[in-house]
Symmetry: C2
Subunit: 190 residues, 2 copies
DNA sequence: CTTGTGATGACACCTGGTGCCATCAACGTA
DNA sequence: TACGTTGATGGCACCAGGTGTCATCACAAG
């Protein structure tokens, strides 16, 4: 038996998401979140750099997964093929059990501009990780940046489709679909 | 003669940039900026939604310029040609007289993560404005989004090159150059 | 039994940001 | 002249996010 209940970080995330859903992001204070989780305000800021960050736990792991998958792709793979492999690799992080939670988070984020801004930052870090990994494979700029941009768009589109209540397919499938649509659209830009 | 000195907004921007350059973004309080500008804290927040925003005055006008130029492009223009025209249209907003000021702002923004985050938001709004304008021309998704993404990348690259101390060319020229490099790179992603 | 370590609690403190009302110049109108 | 209106600002109280600092407690190692 430890002095504290375990999984403080996870408890904070769940308490925050539930509170935000019930009463809205800025009607909920950090003190209220920590009270619900049985902790204190100071502890919250030991786990998360700021109030927004509690809704984006795990994004760094996602970026690493992307980068490692791109690095692990066969040497013969084109940039688009490497990104496709990375989208497949993240599929495990977007299992069916995580979908309901992802929907809740997305509902909160979509309704608050500060949170959408933070989401953009996370997407930018994801693109940067992809571009770095592609450059490490020998892809020169601006091709590496461009491919990362397309990969980011495919991820965003795929995530939106995966979270859609009407959707029943897995993340990898819809994301790869979005990627191939983007590749096809490339020819129409003139 | 008015009760107040004119151009309160501009005075706030200049006072803020100079203070940030001298002592760093988060060592400077809003109260200090307004004191330097001969105003009060409350007035600052009437002109800018938050402390960061004072460094991004004019970004909304830029988005509008982009959107209008895309809308005004000839009906025969391809998406890339429309974006190229938009890059040309913004050239007047990036005259040689604005370059030194842009460099100062960029130096402050580059050294603070909160400010880089806000910059990402502005770029995202620029991309959204481009994508909307392209869709209004009849370009379907995902081609419109993809072209906007490429346009955003061209803008970012062009701006970085224009601000570079070693550069002597105009913004429109370097931005269009970046755009054509991106279009060429499109063929290598396959 | 002692010592160290790591996570937490407790508290003071600063500053960004807002609501609310007062103030004052300019302008129009009678 | 007198008066009301409008718009930008000042002044002030207040809240909440975020930080620095020290105390506290469980647990492990010796």
């Amino acid at each position: 038996m430890s002095r504290w209940e375990p999984n403080a970080r996870e408890r904070l995330v769940r308490a925050a998401v539930e509170s935000f859903l019930e009463r809205g992001y800025d009607e909920v204070t950090v003190a209220e979140i920590t009270e619900r989780a049985g902790l204190t305000k100071r502890t919250f800021f030991r786990h998360f750099a700021d109030k927004r960050e509690v809704l984006f736990a795990g994004q760094d792991i996602l970026s690493r997964t992307f980068a490692e998958a791109i690095a692990a792709a066969p040497a013969s793979a084109t940039p688009i093929e490497a990104i496709s492999a990375a989208l497949t690799a993240t599929e495990t992080a977007f299992g069916p059990d995580h979908r309901e939670f992802a929907r809740k988070v997305q509902a909160v984020v979509a309704n608050h501009s500060d949170l959408r801004e933070r989401e953009l930052l996370k997407r930018a870090k994801l693109r940067a990780a992809m571009a770095d990994a592609l450059r490490a494979r020998g892809i020169p700029d601006p091709a590496a940046s461009l491919a990362a941009e397309i990969g980011g768009l495919a991820f965003t589109t795929g995530f939106a489709r995966w979270v859609d209540p009407a959707n029943e397919r897995g993340f990898g499938e819809v994301a790869r679909e979005a990627l191939s649509e983007l590749v096809e659209a490339t020819a129409t830009l003139g």
